[in-house]
């Protein structure tokens, strides 16, 4: 009957972001918010665990005021309660700040048996948060998990690394980061969406976390962002006869020394 906490981030949907052709800056004006993709897997995994074995799932998020748009979305995906921290510091927060805020919040609302995160956020993909939070809370961290189960006080996880797969077990509280392949996040049914309004949400004010102002300042600061535009030859063969196209392509590959 684990008590689980899932940390998630409300990000901009990168599909809506456009690159301005003149100066390659990013136009995010039409970008809608979403719960970061891998965090959805984390929420789903926690919800599945608890739906199977009993227990409870809380969600926790730290962001700017836009984070309020995420609450019902998160609750419709399984958690029984969501804690949220909305603060301007989130605008420029780096992983160092984020982890400190989350760890402080967890000390306040915890303890938890299992803390889950996605392997990285869909916008920055720093892949730091889970390990940082674990370090700050002096908990072990098992990252890049593709399979998870809980029995009594023991957490069993399969990690998928580059060349190998590790089966690990941990006794006691642990921080887990999950891969997208661990599950397929549910499409919330209508009842789950409507049920979300009946579930509680609680704001945690950053002032109540006892962090000094300098702790909320990032150590890694973004200085410039430019859209990545690839310059390629863009020579396209589209004759009506496939054989003609193939002949032309073969000729190009030969010229390039590739066949």
């Amino acid at each position: 009957m684990p008590k689980c906490l899932v940390c998630y981030k409300w990000t901009l949907d990168e599909q809506d972001i456009k690159i301005k052709p003149d100066d390659l800056s990013l136009d995010v004006s039409r970008a809608k918010g979403k719960i970061s993709d891998f965090d959805r897997n984390a929420i789903e995994e926690a919800s599945l665990l608890v739906e199977k074995d009993g227990g409870a799932v809380d969600a926790l998020t730290y962001g700017t005021t836009t984070v309020k748009q995420s609450l019902k979305d998160a609750l419709s995906r399984g958690p029984g309660k969501v804690y949220w921290i909305a603060d301007a510091s989130a605008e420029k927060a780096d992983a160092n700040v984020t982890a400190k805020v989350l760890a402080a919040a967890i000390r306040k609302i915890g303890p938890y048996d299992l803390i889950l995160c996605g392997e990285g956020s869909s916008d920055q993909f720093n892949q730091q948060t889970a390990s940082r939070v674990a370090a700050l809370l002096a908990l072990p961290c098992v990252s890049f998990v593709s399979k998870l189960s809980v029995a009594e006080n023991t957490v069993s996880a399969t990690r998928k690394l580059e060349e190998s797969q590790e089966d690990v077990t941990v006794k006691g509280p642990v921080v887990i980061s999950v891969l997208s392949e661990i599950n397929k996040p549910r499409i919330p049914s209508l009842k789950q969406v409507l049920g979300a309004s009946k579930k509680p949400n609680e704001e945690i004010k950053i002032a109540d976390l006892n962090l000094k102002p300098e702790e909320l300042l990032p150590k890694a600061v973004c200085k410039s962002v430019k859209g990545f535009v690839m310059k390629r030859k863009n020579i396209i063969y589209k004759e009506s006869a496939a054989a003609d196209n193939v002949a032309k392509l073969k000729a190009s590959l030969t010229t390039e020394g590739l066949c």
């Binding site: 990168e14 972001i17 690159i19 990013l26 780096d94 160092n96 982890a99 990285g120 869909s122 916008d123 993909f125 720093n126 892949q127 730091q128 889970a130 390990s131 940082r132 674990a134 370090a135 700050l136 072990p140 961290c141 990252s143 990690r159 998928k160 580059e162 190998s164 797969q165 590790e166 089966d167 690990v168 077990t169 006794k171 642990v174 997208s180 990032p218 150590k219 890694a220 600061v221 973004c222 410039s224 962002v225 430019k226 859209g227 990545f228 690839m230 390629r232 030859k233 863009n234 020579i235 396209i236 063969y237 589209k238 496939a242 193939v246 002949a247 073969k250 590959l253 590739l258 066949c259």
Partner: protein
Amino acid sequence: MPGIYIFSEDVALAKQLLTPALELKKSLNQPVTVLAVSEPDAKELSTLGADKVVILQSPSKWVDGFAEAIYKQFNDAKASILLVGGTLCGKGIASYVAAKLDAGMVTDATVLKVADGGLLATRVLYAGLALCEEQVALPAVLTIHARTFLAPSAAATPSVIETVAVEADTRVTVGKVTATGDSGVDITAAQKLVAVGRGFRKKEDLKLAEDLAAALKAELACTRGVAEDEHWLPIARYVGISGQTVKPDLYLAVGLSGQVQHMVGCRGSKVIVAINTDEHAPIFESADYGLVGDLYVVLPLLTAALRK
């Protein structure tokens, strides 16, 4: 004394990290120390110009368990920069150390230079849509992906080698470890790749791509959907934001649309070719050469033409 520290459990990657480390040594005039996980690794690493190599001797093979020892080494020396090989384990270790140091960390930095009393590093944002330059104060932790740099050539002076005993982290028990996928297939080492997407209707149809790859002497790669959703090919062949990054001479993409999350893994390729039935597929914007056509018709023709 401030210094530049390097760690990777992957000795080939650790060697590559020496290149940016030695550059930083020139700019900052600080010594370079490599942290190694075994004596053989240490010996290999000691010939490439580092000032010191420290062997972290642990009874456990749990790589993540080295994090505390690495933190202690770095912190005791009051070092300024930690470069960690960007493997999955490496990222976990780097994050742990960064948290304990209360330091900034850049993941998968591709370019780094000294600036404004810290480091200016380039990294990817929004699954590859954009590049960002991040200024990080010292002490700083950075992870660097494999093959971002080439290993340096042999140095005149060998490094001093020391050994330090490390306590195992007993909170995590490592049970079975299984080697995965096509052990032996490393698509990142291939000069040519034929990448398949879901334009192929079923697993058996991949034979068309295999024949083409054989004719080109290429390896097979794929999109996330083919590996993770359809399970037609092992994860080791998946190219993309959370898969492999490849830089072959030829990347031939067949039946894949070319979304940013995929292209970020292959856009370093020398020549990109696309075959797709949809003229408006984004892949054509990323291609040097493109062929608009039905892969079921085109691939056999192309394979035959290449065999001549």
